[in-house]
């Protein structure tokens, strides 16, 4: 049967690939939401609004890409909200308290994030903690560090050049969107084209079989946690730059939104499944939804209700399509 494939035209293959791609259904959901909003809301149509939405969900998306790695490998990371906050605080402190230039300050924040990721990884592979517990622990620890470092006060007075990261534009498009796009492309290639990426999927699919295939499962795990925290830190730094301050409370509860985006995007908490595209789409759905609530003047008390239902309906639609495909 494999011969048949050769006979098909490239077009057919591409069409098939797109239609069968696990992200296609969720893309449809997003499209539908956008069309509906386009029809009912005039302000939704402005380019500015679209860019604002994209910039707002870019932090979920950027972090979400990192979480995807962890989730595909079969783990979970709850600490990322705190790491997000901590990295923002540390970067700002780099400029304000340690007098570092902008770039080294950013690196400092990223390094702090990576370090936490490494710590998560080590707890999971060496202390053999369930990822849920390990990262719940570091969630608390990183948050505490935010308070301890800042004594609870936001870090203000950053170098104005730092603001470019979150507030700047390149070719008319906000910098955070560029960053999200670049991160997405890099990690999509990483997951799909590289040996390590393939191993991450294998690990999530069957840890035992992956280990017996002569693959260092531990290294991969540590890598996924480190990358996840690194990206969360990056998003945190961008957000700090967007707001112009390092807030010790930034990113509280952020982990749930980022994880939700990943799962709406088709990843499974059992591991082995998930794509970067899906994650970006998942984050976009959440972004459009939150924007819609404001544009449509939905009463605050009702907003969560609508968010809850949309999440459920979006993923149900995705599931139904999937199971019909089977």
């Amino acid at each position: 049967m494999s011969e048949k494939t050769n006979g098909q035209s490239i077009l057919d293959i591409t069409r098939n690939r797109v239609l069968k791609s696990s992200s296609f259904n969720i893309f449809l959901v997003l499209l539908l939401m956008c069309i509906a909003m386009y029809i009912v809301s005039e302000p939704f149509r402005s380019i500015d609004n679209v860019l604002a939405i994209a910039r707002n969900f870019s932090s979920y998306a950027t972090t979400g890409v990192g979480v995807s790695l962890v989730i595909i490998s079969g783990g979970i990371d709850l600490s990322l909200g705190s790491v997000f906050g901590l990295a923002g605080v540390i970067s700002c402190m780099g400029m304000v308290n340690f007098g570092l230039p902008v770039f080294p300050s950013i690196l400092l924040g990223l390094a702090a994030g990576a370090l936490f990721g490494l710590f998560n990884g080590v707890l999971v592979v060496k202390a053999k903690l369930p990822p849920f517990i390990a990262t719940l622990g570091t969630l608390s620890i990183a948050r505490s560090l935010c308070y301890i470092l800042t004594e609870g006060y936001p870090v203000t007075g950053v170098d104005t050049r730092f603001l470019f990261l979150g507030q700047g534009y390149i070719a008319g498009i906000p910098t955070p969107i560029w960053i999200m796009a670049i991160v997405a492309v890099i990690f999509a290639i990483f997951l799909n084209q590289t040996v390590t990426g393939r191993r991450i999927y294998a690990l999530g699919g069957n840890e035992e079989a992956t280990r017996i295939s002569g693959i260092s499962v531990n290294k991969i795990k540590v890598l996924t946690y480190t990358l996840c925290s690194l990206l969360a830190a990056f998003a945190g730094i961008i957000t700090a730059s967007r707001l112009g301050i390092g807030q010790p409370t930034a990113g509280q509860g952020f982990e749930m939104d980022a994880i939700a985006a990943v799962i709406i995007g088709g990843a499974s908490l059992d591991g082995g499944e998930g794509t970067v595209t899906g994650t970006i789409l998942g984050a976009a759905i959440m972004g459009v939804l939150r924007n819609a609530l404001v544009l449509l003047s939905i009463k605050s008390h009702w907003q969560s209700l609508i968010i809850g239902f949309v999440i459920i309906i979006a993923v149900t639609a995705d599931q139904l399509k999937k199971s019909r495909g089977k």
């Binding site: 932090s59 112009g244 409370t249 404001v294």
Partner: protein, 332 residues
Amino acid sequence: SGPGTEKPGPAEPTPTPATEPQPEEPSGEDKDITIAVIPQQLGNVVFLPAKEGAEDAGKELGINVEWQAPVRADATLQVEIIEGLIERKVDGIAISCAHPDALKDTLARAVEAGIAVSTFDADSPESGRIFYCGTENYEAGVLCGEHMVELFKDHDKDVIRVAQLEGIPGAFDITARMQGFADAIKGTNIEVVYTGPCDDDVDKAVIVVEDYTRANGDEIDAWFMAGGWPYVVGPDALPELRKWREADPENRKVVTMDVFPSSKAHFDLNLIDVAVGQSFYNMGKLSVENLYKHITGQPVDGEEKEGFPGLFISTGAQIVTPENYQTEIADE
């Protein structure tokens, strides 16, 4: 105009009312005007009176008042909401800022877009907003501190030990109150010996206060609640605190921020010495009224202050004591 800013409050936004609603309807009924009011968080009870005040003002003026509350106390969520409001070109925004600097730029963009912006409760002075309406949290903290000093002025103990209750550590408004308190008691024999966080959760607040009082009640002379979480519940839910106080009302004092209808029951039992309320109802009401005035081209009530950009509308602080609580707190 307020010194220190390039964009003086009243001057800039005038073109907007001139081009849009004003020509058709000079004043009074104007269904087309929408003012969005943004508290820091949906679940925080202190903002409920502000909502009432804003909505009452809206009804009186015949304009739309929209309550847009973020689900979590998070500056980024407020930013997202403002961005949506800018796209919708609402006429006015009144906001209690999660952090002054974090919202500065976004509010400035709203101002640029011709939206009349004001702040209440928690200010963002450099945002170009027209006015700030409320009582500074720092000032309120200072008031609490001053009352604490007053309460203990005749006591001859060497050190007065105070336990302090806070919300989410690092939350800007609460931190400001605690700072005000700390500054007010500086140089006296009053000393903060403990700060317990309750994550803005009433249940946790009760647990922290009760546990600490049970364990260390003999060691402390006073409680300072930087937010009124424990007084959302009835006195029965705070038996330890009550026991502690009733054991020696002369030497054990309680100063708290916030006044709720439910605070009355605690005053009835003489469990609170001073409660400092920031009139959130007035904050909501005055914010909307004055934004409306500004939008329709009328002058805004409010004073100018030295070094303070824009106008200041004081809602004052409500000082509730066992002497005046009967009149100060409306029945539930």
